[in-house]
């Protein structure tokens, strides 16, 4: 691995960010912080797409397109998630995810 940043460095960063997001999703008790972790995951995926586009497929723009779409979809999803959180808050008076366990056995 060279000192000069290349594809591998970017992939390393995106993997790290991905798994940080996963850790946050599994550990946080608050719904909003879980949403933040999901945003980190999505961003790591975007870095991946752009990296591959730049270093492997420089003659095409597929990676960029994908990233644009992912950003759009992430925005829509975040909005819907906030709406759900607000609805849940109204019925439970709390957004502790451990309290939302009505779907158990």
């Amino acid at each position: 691995m060279t000192i000069e940043p290349g594809l591998y460095h970017l992939l390393f960063i995106s993997t790290t960010l991905f798994f940080i997001g996963v850790y946050g999703f599994l550990t946080r008790r608050n719904l909003i912080t879980m949403l933040m972790s999901i945003e980190l995951i999505l961003n790591s995926v975007n870095i991946n797409f752009i990296a591959f586009n730049k270093y492997l497929w420089a003659n095409r723009l597929d990676g960029v397109m994908f990233t644009v779409f992912v950003i759009a979809i992430a925005a829509a999803e975040a909005a819907v998630a906030i709406a759900i959180i607000i609805n849940l808050y109204r019925s439970h008076q709390s957004i502790d995810v451990e309290k939302a366990e009505e779907m158990k056995y």
């Binding site: 996963v22 999703f25 599994l26 995810v97 451990e98 366990e101 009505e102 779907m103 158990k104 056995y105």
Partner: protein, 651 residues
């Protein structure tokens, strides 16, 4: 030969009657059911007589005068339907086999059944379950006719069981009496136990012969060169060849049905049923099914397995002797007749046992079948006579009877004729048949001959003891009779059977029925008959002295032989031995552990599978906790696991 349908009508008419009376008897035909049953049986009897006449005098006799004197009675199969085919040779068929003994039996069965039907019209009048009774009688007649007409050993087993069921139903006819219920159970269980041996015997025989059909079975096992016979004789278990085992086990089934020692315990108890039933089933027809079975397989017994034939002979003579001794002490008249039946069937059995095959050697076979024929007549007559007496006195015990000859003249004369026949007094039927049996025994096995001679004497003694106790002895103490005399319907069968008992002896039986089908000339040897007749007359004389007039000689004799008398009176304690074996040994050592095993291990396993499922599910239901993060962890771990699996382990 008449068409198969005509012959098939003989058993099918009673079956049809059973169905009609069983389904509609109680609602529709209440009083007419007796007439319906009797008429259907009359038609059956006429057809049977017609078939018998045709068989013996017309088409059954294959006349091959020109060739080595081989003319004989052929075994005809007018009908065969393959029901279940196992391989090319072995199949369970439903067929009709006509040969001398089966034609003989259909005549005997239909005739005696007809007599019993007519008698029951009077005896069972006023009975509440009148239609049911006649339905059961028809069922029994159908089963017995099917049994004797069977062409396949499995078919005979099927009808064997059917006969057992009919017997059970009829013995337990008065089902509100616990003794009748117990007797029916006992009969069924003992015969069913014997049928276990029968089934195993069938399996052994069919395994080695690779066929279930009677003709093929007998042909396979009697031709000296057949490989199947060689196999069956060579393979042995505990030193006895497989063929002998098979035949001995088949004989066990026959011994159970025919009440041979030690499977005889059900017959005296079976007297709990109505008396006409006893006449039909337990005197003339069902109990000779065992003899019929041995006679059917006789060529195999005598040509290929003489050891099995020896067993038949010794069991027969032992039963005959034992039963005669017990009968001398019993006071219930039906029980005396039951033990007498057992004794006479013992005679038939050992006559088969000492017989050879072919020509003069086959005398025992002919004698046995002849005795079967005559015995049916006079034993049915004795039972129906006893029925008349019981109907009159309303008691079974000899002590309540005496001097009835004035009140029941027809019964008296016919009973006397039957007693003379069974004692072997010429010229009645029993003399001829018994004399042939003794001649066959004398020619082959002197020991058996001497024991049989003594037994004949005992037979004469106890039969006349019975006769004198009922009709002579003391003067009657009867309140003015309620039924003045017995009706014609009850007397007519007695008269007809008495005619049969008197005249049947003159039929030249050997011309029709013999071991190999060829006519057998019976030589009447007056010198030989001196001994049996003399012993018979001595027996009658002793009974005359002891029982004709009321005296205390019998008690004195009984007291002097007290222990022997007591043992004989208690039927040699055989019932007690059985009770001991079953309740102390079988129940405790076999039945109780088996029940424990069934309840705790077998049920326990099933219960365990249920409760294990419940416990496990209670533990693992927490996986579905409703918490999203836990689900996410599970899926992450799963994905990582699968990735490792696919990348590194499963290339």
């Amino acid at each position: 030969m008449p068409s198969a349908i005509i012959i098939a009508l003989i058993p099918l008419l009673p079956l049809f009657t059973f169905l009609v009376l069983g389904l509609y008897g109680r609602k529709v035909f209440k009083n007419a059911s007796g007439i319906i049953g009797t008429i259907s049986l009359l038609i059956s009897f006429v057809i049977a007589a017609y078939v018998a006449y045709g068989y013996f005098f017309n088409y059954g006799y294959i006349d091959l005068r020109g060739q080595f004197n081989l003319s004989h009675y052929e075994k005809l199969i007018p009908f065969k339907y393959t029901w279940l085919q196992f391989n090319e040779r072995m199949s369970i068929d439903m067929g009709i086999l006509l040969d001398p003994i089966s034609v003989l039996m259909i005549v005997v069965v239909t005739f005696v059944s007809l007599m019993v039907h007519i008698f029951s019209l009077g005896y069972m009048k006023g009975e509440e379950r009148y239609p049911t009774y006649f339905a059961f009688l028809s069922l029994f007649t159908f089963s017995m006719l099917g049994l004797v007409l069977s062409s396949n050993i499995f078919q005979i087993y099927i009808f064997w069981e059917l006969v057992g069921v009919s017997s059970f139903l009829l013995i337990g006819f008065y089902y509100d009496r616990p003794s009748a219920v117990a007797a029916a159970k006992k009969a069924f269980i003992v015969t069913r136990f014997a049928d276990l041996g029968f089934l195993i015997g069938i399996l052994i025989l069919s395994f080695y012969a690779n066929t279930l059909d009677f003709n093929a079975l007998i042909a396979t096992f009697t031709s000296p060169t057949s490989p199947e016979l060689h196999n069956a004789v060579v393979s042995s278990f505990l030193g006895v060849s497989a063929l002998t085992w098979g035949l001995a086990l088949v004989f066990m089934g026959g011994a159970g049905k025919s009440a041979m020692f030690p499977l005889h315990i059900w017959l005296p108890d079976a007297m709990e049923g109505p008396t006409p039933v006893s006449a039909l089933i337990h005197a003339a027809t069902m109990v000779v099914a065992g003899v019929f079975l041995v006679a059917r397989l006789f060529p195999v017994f005598s040509l290929s397995a003489p050891a099995a034939l020896n067993i038949v002979a010794y069991v027969g003579i032992l039963s005959a002797f034992l039963a005669a001794i017990i009968a001398c002490t019993q006071t219930d008249i039906k029980r005396v007749l039951a033990y007498s039946t057992m004794s006479q069937i013992g005679f038939m059995m050992f006559a088969l046992g000492v017989s050879g095959y072919g020509g003069e050697n086959g005398l025992g076979f002919t004698a046995s079948m002849f005795h079967l024929f005559t015995h049916a007549m006079f034993k049915a007559l004795l039972f129906l006579g006893a029925g008349v007496v019981i109907h009159f006195i309303h008691s079974n015990d000899m002590k309540d009877m005496g001097g009835l000859r004035k009140y029941l003249p027809v019964a008296h004369i016919t009973f006397l004729i039957a007693c003379l026949a069974i004692a072997g007094v010429p010229p009645f039927a029993g003399f001829f048949s018994k004399e042939e049996i003794l001649l066959a025994a004398y020619n082959n096995n002197p020991t058996i001959f001497y024991i049989a001679l003594i037994t004949s004497g005992l037979t004469a003694f106890y039969m006349f003891r019975l006769y004198f106790s009922i009709f002579w002895n003391k003067s009657p103490d009867i309140h003015t009779d309620h039924h003045n005399n017995t009706s014609l319907v009850m007397n007519l069968p007695l008269i007809l059977l008495a005619i049969g008992a008197a005249l049947a002896g003159f039929i030249p039986f050997g011309n029709f029925v013999s071991s190999d089908g060829q006519p057998l000339e019976s030589h009447f040897n007056p010198m030989f008959s001196v001994a049996p007749v003399t012993i018979g007359l001595v027996g009658i004389a002793i009974a005359w002295m002891l029982y004709k007039k009321q005296n205390n000689k019998p008690e004195k004799i009984a007291n002097s032989l007290s222990s022997i008398y007591k043992t004989a009176y208690r039927k040699f304690y055989i019932d007690e031995i059985y009770l001991f074996i079953t309740s102390k040994i079988l129940f405790n050592l076999v039945a109780r552990p088996a029940a424990w095993f069934d309840k705790n291990v077998v049920d326990g396993m099933v219960n365990a599978s249920g409760s294990v499922t419940q416990v496990v599910s209670a533990r693992i239901k927490k996986i579905q906790s409703g918490k999203v993060q836990q689900y996410a962890i599970y899926s992450l771990v799963g994905v990582i696991g699968l990735a490792i699996l696919f990348i590194y382990l499963w290339k």
